[in-house]
Amino acid sequence: MSITIHNIRKSFGAFEALKRVDLDIAGGELVALLGPSGCGKTTLLRIIAGLETPDTGRILFQGEDATDRHVRERQVGFVFQHYALFRHMTVFENIAFGLRVRPKAQRPGEAEIRERVHKLLDLVQLDWLADRYPPQLSGGQRQRIALARALAVEPKVLLLDEPFGALDAKVRKDLRRWLRRLHDELHVTSVFVTHDQEEALEVADRVVVLNAGRVEQVGTPDEVYDHPASPFVYAFLGDVNLFHGRVHDGHAAIGDARVQLPDSAGSQDAAVFYARPHEIEILRDNPGGSAMAATVHDIRPLGATVRVELDRADGHGSVEVELARDRFNRIGLAVGEAVYLEPRRLRIFGEEASREESAS
């Protein structure tokens, strides 16, 4: 089922949670709503579910207006961040709940309920937990049960509100891969909210980046990562180094350093350049005279990569560089050493945009 979100606004008192949001979600898609806390992503999800009513705007399900439809009639499955399992019911009863409480005419027979619940428990790979109570389960297990409960009513749309937010890093990684596989099996239109860019990029077909109640960018994970529409998206999707400088004849002038810009002509007196830590090269010498001088300030090994923090020689702040461990071993850096930095790739956004970025 496709979802169309048209011109949605929502305020809580004086706080504007959503300012004119438009979005199209195709049937069978897995979409991530990504943004920092307070950007309105959960509010948007709750509006899609019908748990919250928008101030203006419309929600269409499969082209049909569902704005005034009650959450009960929208046929959505909702998975909550803190599971929201019914504590006084067994796992089995939790999943069966949505079926048991249907009016008699639509209620499946006891045998069918039993079969469906066990099928769902198989699907979430927790059949052996049917008789336990939610407090006896681990967080990851609870969240899978919550997902099974949401799927039991055969929803047309599955909505997940930070489903892995309360889990530890390892379980989270396993679960999000599992969610992806599950989605590939079921193909139910799914929207999930997250503030974890890695999660969004890994799991979703498309990512919707929200900021301060507005949609900043919509695109596939590759699109938003490689072609961020704004400094906000760029900074939100990974670590960032900022350089202040000028653009001159297609070169970036940062202090003494000059870096060739691939697709920029003209000049600009004040510009902000962005580079990811892994897009900067550390050099021993400075053959072209175009690199920035810096001293190594700190070295932190992070498993497969090493993060090096350097202070710029011209005193304009510090730079973070991430490099593969074998490359790091080959260079053989030590704290206090003088080296040169050469950004392989720099990105500029317009002056206005960058000002907004620092204001957000």
Binding site: V76, L85, R149
Partner: protein, 379 residues
């Protein structure tokens, strides 16, 4: 830029110089919490031109903490100087991180300050608050009524299991405490009346007073107070915890009405059981009174119950029992409404539970006085 000759402002903590790329502000000394007042004054004295770019140099700093960084950024922010027109140099990695963090916080939209309200404003504010609260409870009553009407049309919606669970919780488990309280109240009242009656040798008339007081007022009222404290508080706490845990949203998203699942079973159980609990309280109270009468007033149980049969009319007992479903309705509505109004934090559950107990007791007493006034009309 035509700048005045340098230096234009110096201080123990900072100096402002005109440079080739706009003004340069050099910081010195310890920009820490201990020097906060001096820093504020130093910054206030600087003639910074908000229209031109500014470079802040931290190379000569001895120390910088979040208070100092906040002071600096707040001052510059107040002048309208932000990135990228504001440049930072010589701060080192930690200093840069701190300043960026602080600047990020400053750029967030400010929450409205907690303004002191004047007298007139305070009145207006309270009126609005009462208005909102009234609207909210009226809406809740309306929704409950709607759910009830729906239940009457489709009895299949009735959640029998929840209803019976509540019958046990509200009714069966409340019996011992209700009996004990009422028994003690019976003793107290019999003593009190007995002391007066003894003076005139009218011991046997204690029965009249005790019978009337307990069945018409005390048993219903005491039962309602106990139920408000016990079941009312439990309703709010339970529904509130479910709300915090988003279980109520979960019920709605599974295609159910929280009113059918949660509110109506509780409300109906309470309305059904309140008269029964009151009847139990009537009996316990009278037993207590009879005991005092036989031990201290020389009225034998036989005489006591004979007299009671003569003087206590069925109307009085019925009147006492008749009020109680109304009490129950008020308690259940207040308790469930409070449970549903819990905000999404645990503290709110406690506040709402307290509010439930206070409001339901007030409501019960208000309803009771209305009944007392209406008694001649009703009987």
């Amino acid at each position: 830029m035509s700048a005045p000759p340098p230096p234009v402002g110096t201080d123990a903590f900072c100096s402002l110089d005109a440079g080739p790329e706009g003004a340069a502000l050099s910081l010195r000394g310890a920009w820490t919490l201990a020097n906060l007042a001096a820093l504020r004054d130093a910054l206030a004295r600087l003639p910074i031109d908000p229209g031109a770019p500014l470079t802040v140099d931290g190379a000569a700093l001895d120390a910088l903490d979040s208070a100092g960084a906040n002071r600096l950024i707040a001052h510059l922010d107040g002048l309208g100087l932000r990135f990228p027109r504001l440049r930072l140099s010589g701060f080192g990695a930690q200093g840069m991180a701190l300043l960026h963090l602080v600047a990020g916080r400053h750029a967030l939209p400010a929450t409205a300050p907690l303004a002191r309200r004047g007298f007139g404003q305070a009145i207006g504010w309270h009126v609005m608050r009462v208005g909102h609260a009234t609207l909210s409870i009226l809406t809740f009553i309306g929704q409950t009524g709607q759910a009830f009407a729906q239940l009457l049309r489709r009895p299949g919606l009735f959640r029998a299991r929840e209803f019976f669970v509540q019958l046990e919780m509200v009714g069966l488990r409340a019996v011992p405490i209700v009996m004990l309280m009422s028994y003690l109240i019976g003793i107290v009242i019999a003593y009190l009346l007995g002391l007066q009656a003894k003076k005139y040798g009218a011991n046997v008339f204690v029965v009249d007073g005790v019978g009337l007081a307990i069945t018409r007022e005390l048993a219903p009222l005491m039962t309602a107070v106990i139920v408000a404290g016990r079941s009312g508080a439990a309703f709010t706490a339970h529904l509130g915890a479910m709300k915090v845990n988003q279980e109520i949203d979960a019920i709605a998203s599974l295609g159910l009405s929280p009113w059918q699942v949660l509110v109506l079973p509780r409300l109906l159980a309470l309305v059904l059981l309140m008269p029964l609990l009151t009847a139990v309280a009537d009996i316990a109270g009278i037993l207590g009174a009879a005991q005092v009468a036989s031990l201290h007033l020389g009225v034998t149980p036989h005489t006591f119950f004979d007299r009671l049969q003569d003087v206590l009319s069925t109307d009085t007992v019925l009147f006492g029992l008749m009020k109680t479903p109304v009490f129950a309705l008020a308690i259940a509505l207040i308790a469930c409404h409070n449970g549903f109004s819990v905000a999404r934090d645990a503290r709110s559950v406690g506040l709402r539970t307290t509010a439930t107990v206070v409001r339901s007791i007030v409501a019960v007493i208000l309803i009771d006085s209305a009944f007392a006034v209406a008694y001649p009309e009703l009987m």
